[in-house]
Structures are given as structure tokens and as C-alpha cells.
């Protein structure tokens, strides 16, 4: 080859693996933010979640006198539930799940994935970079939106002295579980996206597996209770301790953490491995 090409290759030999992975992160970061829908989705869902929870907290604050004595004694559970209501879980899951789907299926459905993998034949590294970017963004989002929601709702409740403090025993762990629901949803969505590569199919499977199944599984019979325990939604409710009604088949918080961890790990492995062994 002529000298001109060699000259245009600046020190490719001594670029470390870490430096070149940082390049992939930067590329995925650009791709992530250069779609208009990204910012839009994050802002809208963040506002919606804060509004849902603020509204729930305000309702409990206004009706506090209507609570039974037993309920008042166990108010921590209501306060936690106001901090992150199941309907805001739904909003979070849909918004961040959609972002996760977008990052993966947006490349497959447009054919961009072929341009990407021709530029970067190390496919696993591409997917790893996507995972890191999505996890970083969604974790920050979780800290701001879910963390913010906790402080805002408890401030409302505290006007009647029933708000929780993050330093109260056990509260930090419960808030942490809520915050971590933010990165978990898009990780799972990305894995489903890599497997299905089609947006409608991916969103459907994700919503069914992540939300409809756990909601519809009854906790009353042993088999459905155990199946329910295998889902992140139920695990989150268990750790945040916001399961209302009788729970005939109790399970430990550590089990709930394990379930979340396994979902995250399996999602990451699937996302990185599946792309390596496939024609594009």
C-alpha cells in the first residue's frame, strides 16, 4: 500500500484495548443522544413518574386521618409505596424499556447494525458498549427521578410527620431497589431486542414478561407464588416491602435480590453472546 494510507493511520498498533473500548463508548454515546426521541422520552417519563408519586403522596397526606389505627401503625409501607407507586413502575418500565429496545432494534430494523459491525467486527464489544451507555444513563435517571421522587413524596408526608428519612433503618435498601429498577428494565429489553430484532415483537414480549405475567400471577397458590417470585416486579415489591394483603408464601429479601441479579446477568450475557454467533 502507498505511504499515504499508512500515514493516515495514527498509532493504531499502540492503542490499548481500554482506549479503544472508550472509543466505542463514545460512539454509542453519540448514537444514543443523537436520536431526538431519547431526551423526549426521558423528560416526559420523569415528569410523569414524579407527578404520579406526588399525587399518591398528596392523597395519603390529605386522607391520613381516614387510615385505620392498624394502617397508621404500619404506615412505612404506605410511605414507601407513595415514593414509587406501581403505576410509576409501569411508566418507568415502558419508557426505559423503549429506550433499551431502541438502542438494539433501532439498529436491526434499519440495517444500521451491518454498518456498525463492518466498522467494528468485534461485535461483543459493540454490545458491551451499548450496555454500559444504557446502564449509565438509566442509573443516573433512576437516581434523579426515583431518588427525587422519594425525597419529594416524603417531604409531603412529613408535613404530618409520617414521612420516612433515607437514614431510617432499612429505608436506604428499599429505595436502592427502586432506583435499580431503572437500569434493569432496559437491560432486559435489550436482550429481548437482540433475540427478536423486531420492534413490535420485542416490546410485546418485554411487556408481557416484565409486567403482565407478574401482575397476573396470584400469590395465593404455591406454584404461581414461586413463579411470581422469579420476576423483577415482584422482587422489587418484596425488597421495597410494599406487598399489601396476605402473603401465604413468604420469601426472603436476599432471594429477591438474587432474582434481580440473575435477570441482569442473563440479560447482559444474552446481549453480548447472541450477536457473535449469527449472520447479519
Amino acid at each position: 500500500m502507498t505511504g499515504s494510507t499508512t500515514a493516515a493511520v495514527p498509532g493504531s498498533a499502540n492503542t490499548g484495548a481500554l482506549a479503544s473500548f472508550r472509543d466505542l463508548l463514545a460512539a454509542e454515546w453519540i448514537k444514543f443522544w443523537s436520536l431526538r426521541s431519547t431526551t423526549w422520552t426521558l423528560v416526559m417519563s420523569g415528569v410523569a413518574i414524579l407527578a404520579f408519586n406526588g399525587y399518591a403522596a398528596y392523597g395519603d397526606y390529605a386522607n391520613l386521618e381516614g387510615f385505620s389505627a392498624a394502617a397508621r401503625a404500619d404506615f412505612t409501607r404506605y410511605a414507601m409505596s407513595d415514593a414509587f407507586t406501581p403505576s410509576s413502575f409501569l411508566a418507568l418500565m415502558l419508557a426505559l424499556g423503549a429506550l433499551g429496545v431502541n438502542v438494539v432494534v433501532g439498529e436491526y430494523s434499519t440495517g444500521l447494525i451491518r454498518s456498525t459491525f463492518t466498522a467494528v467486527p468485534a461485535r461483543g464489544a459493540v454490545m458491551a458498549a451499548k450496555l454500559v451507555v444504557v446502564t449509565a444513563v438509566s442509573s443516573s435517571y433512576g437516581l434523579v427521578v426515583i431518588g427525587g421522587s422519594f425525597f419529594a413524596t416524603q417531604a409531603i408526608l412529613d408535613r404530618k410527620d409520617v414521612g420516612l428519612s433515607i437514614t431510617d433503618p432499612g429505608v436506604a435498601e428499599r429505595v436502592l431497589a427502586s432506583v435499580l429498577m431503572a437500569p434493569l428494565a432496559p437491560l432486559v429489553a435489550m436482550a429481548v431486542g437482540v433475540l427478536l430484532r423486531h420492534s413490535i415483537a420485542t416490546i410485546s414480549v418485554f411487556v408481557v414478561a416484565y409486567l403482565l405475567v407478574p401482575i397476573s400471577l396470584s400469590g395465593q397458590t404455591y406454584a404461581t407464588a414461586v413463579l411470581g417470585h422469579l420476576t423483577p416486579y415482584r422482587a422489587w415489591m418484596r425488597i421495597a416491602d410494599i406487598e399489601f394483603g396476605s402473603q401465604p408464601h413468604p420469601w426472603p429479601v436476599s432471594g429477591a435480590w438474587t432474582v434481580c441479579a440473575v435477570w441482569a446477568i442473563v440479560a447482559v450475557i444474552l446481549t453480548v453472546v447472541v450477536v457473535k454467533r449469527r449472520d447479519h
Binding site: 502507498t2 494510507t5 453519540i30 443523537s34 436520536l35 433501532g106 456498525t116 463492518t118 467486527p121 449472520d279
Partner: protein, 303 residues
């Protein structure tokens, strides 16, 4: 240098590429030619590691392309101009690709200038015409200033001005010593583009030779001759060993004898000539003749 050896790719029952072997040399534009469904796109995606061969090997400069963790500095490929996300601007698309390979923003600016998209780089790709997307794909292929360039049907959607520009670009890149492989299903597109040809049909190699050699297969070179006395000339030519056929308009088509010899012969016999024109063999004809038996989707044929 591209080396394809006994390459086979099957999709279930379909054999897209069948025991294909050829070499593409640097320093000249090579046309990769075949009718629809011949396996051109499949071969190119095997070359860049997007799919895995069922058998055989495809190497670029001695190694399979996917042994490089980052590819843009080794091979620039445009497989399908639509392989972009319509929601991003052309500039963002190229910047992300460049960044993934550790290339700077000035490379993005340079290639945008080179393909003439600088003015629309801030627009979303979804608003680009097919021709503009082709240019964007070419820009992406040029980003890493690679020694090997692969283009799948790059002339699709380009206007005559664009076609001329692309041909010029291919020639320039080849002249700089690069390997340039350009696929097409139209012989006419190759006529002013390629020096070498790799012709495939139904996944099999039909020819790998220079365009000039390939063209010569189409039809024996012939010379069209007009004269007021065709009978005398025909007899004289036949006597001298040429093959003469009379055409509908009265002209003679002479094969196996050069225009010069025909002219000399006519002068020697005092037969006046009104026209003496060598016919350049038609590439299109050669292509049809060579691939006729291997057309995958012939019009009117039942599948």
C-alpha cells in the same frame, strides 16, 4: 488483495454462493458482475464477516476481515446505502462510526466534503434521497482511508453527474494502489468503470479476467463493409478465407479478417468501398451469452 477460495454459503436449501474462487488485485477497479440473485451481496457480506461461510475462506490482505477488532482502517464497505438510521443526521452517523474506530472529527469533515454532502450533513438521513444515501455510504467507506474498498451496487440512484463522479473516485482510489471491488448486475455500468471482471451466476464463477478479454467472448469481432458491388467483394473475401454474411440493409458483416486486410483486398480488386467499420464486441452481449444459462429469476419463468 482479496482472496476467495472455494467459498460456499448455503441458506437452507438455497446455495447462494457455490464453490467460488477468485482473486482481486490492488491498483485497479474490479467489477463484480452477475444477474440478480447471483450471490454478489452474499459474497461481499462473507468478505466483511457479516455472515459465516458454510465452507471455504474469504480473506482480505491475507486474513479474514473479522480478525480486526476495528475495521474502518482496513476495509471500507458500502453494502446497502439504506443501512443507516433515518433519525440521525448524516454528520452524527459518520461521527459515531469514526469515533468507534478512533478517528477524529476532521476525517468526518473531509469525507463529507469529498462526497459533496457537507451542505446537508446537519439534516436527518431520513430526508435524504437514495443518491444522497449512496454518497453517505461512500463517505462512511472512505472514513478510515482503507487500502481495500468494497461497493455493492454503488451506482444505484445516482444521477449521470453522480455516476461520473463515482467512477472518477473509483479510478482515483485504484490509482493510489488500493483494491477496489464494485458489484453490479448491469454490464453497461462496468464498461467505463472496471479493468478486471469477476462474473458470477447462480453463485458459481463464470469468468475472472480482464474486461477486454471478457468482451471478446461475446461475439467474434466483425467488420461492417458497404460497397456498390457486394457480389464481387463477397466472392473475393470468401476466397481469401473470411466469413461473410449479408445483412438486411445490404451491408456485409465480415469476420475473421481485419479491416485493414479487407481494405487492401478491395483496392487490389478495384472494388470501391463506401464504408469500412470494425464493430467493437458488445459487453452486454458477452454478459448475456455467458450468464444466460445461469439467470436465477428469468422473466416469465415459473418459480
Amino acid at each position: 488483495m482479496i482472496e476467495v477460495k472455494q467459498l460456499t454459503k448455503r441458506y437452507g436449501e438455497t446455495t447462494a454462493v457455490d464453490d467460488l474462487s477468485f482473486t482481486v488485485r490492488p491498483g485497479r477497479v474490479t467489477g463484480f458482475l452477475g444477474p440478480n440473485g447471483a450471490g454478489k451481496t452474499t459474497t461481499l457480506s462473507l468478505l466483511v464477516g457479516l455472515s459465516r461461510p458454510t465452507r471455504g475462506t474469504a480473506t482480505i490482505d491475507g486474513v479474514p476481515f473479522d480478525t480486526h477488532p476495528r475495521g474502518l482502517r482496513y476495509v471500507g464497505a458500502l453494502l446497502d446505502a439504506r443501512d443507516v438510521h433515518g433519525g440521525r443526521t448524516g454528520h452524527d452517523h459518520l461521527t459515531a462510526l469514526a469515533r468507534s474506530n478512533g478517528l477524529g472529527c476532521n476525517r468526518v469533515r473531509q469525507v463529507l466534503e469529498e462526497v459533496g454532502l457537507a451542505d446537508v450533513a446537519a439534516r436527518r438521513v431520513g430526508t435524504y434521497s437514495l443518491g444522497m444515501k449512496q454518497r453517505l455510504g461512500i463517505a462512511a467507506a472512505l472514513l478510515g482511508d482503507p487500502p481495500v474498498l468494497l461497493f455493492d451496487e454503488p451506482l444505484n440512484g445516482l444521477d449521470p453527474e453522480g455516476v461520473r463522479w463515482v467512477r472518477g473516485l473509483f479510478h482515483r482510489k485504484a490509482h493510489e494502489g488500493r483494491t477496489v471491488l464494485v458489484s453490479s448486475h448491469l454490464m453497461s455500468e462496468m464498461e467505463h468503470t472496471a479493468i478486471d471482471l469477476v462474473v458470477v451466476g447462480r453463485g458459481r464463477l463464470i469468468a475472472a479476467e480482464t474486461l477486454v478479454e471478457f468482451a471478446a467472448r461475446g461475439r467474434m469481432p466483425s467488420v461492417t463493409v458497404r460497397t456498390p458491388d457486394p457480389t464481387a467483394l463477397s466472392a473475393a473475401l470468401a476466397e481469401a478465407g473470411a466469413k461473410v454474411t449479408t445483412q438486411a440493409d445490404g451491408a456485409l458483416a465480415v469476420q475473421q479478417m481485419s479491416a485493414r486486410d479487407i481494405g487492401d483486398l478491395a483496392l487490389a480488386r478495384f472494388i470501391p468501398l463506401h464504408e469500412l467499420s470494425p464493430q467493437v464486441p458488445s459487453l452486454e452481449e458477452a454478459f448475456m451469452k455467458m450468464t444466460g444459462g445461469s439467470v436465477e429469476y428469468r422473466a416469465g419463468r415459473r418459480q
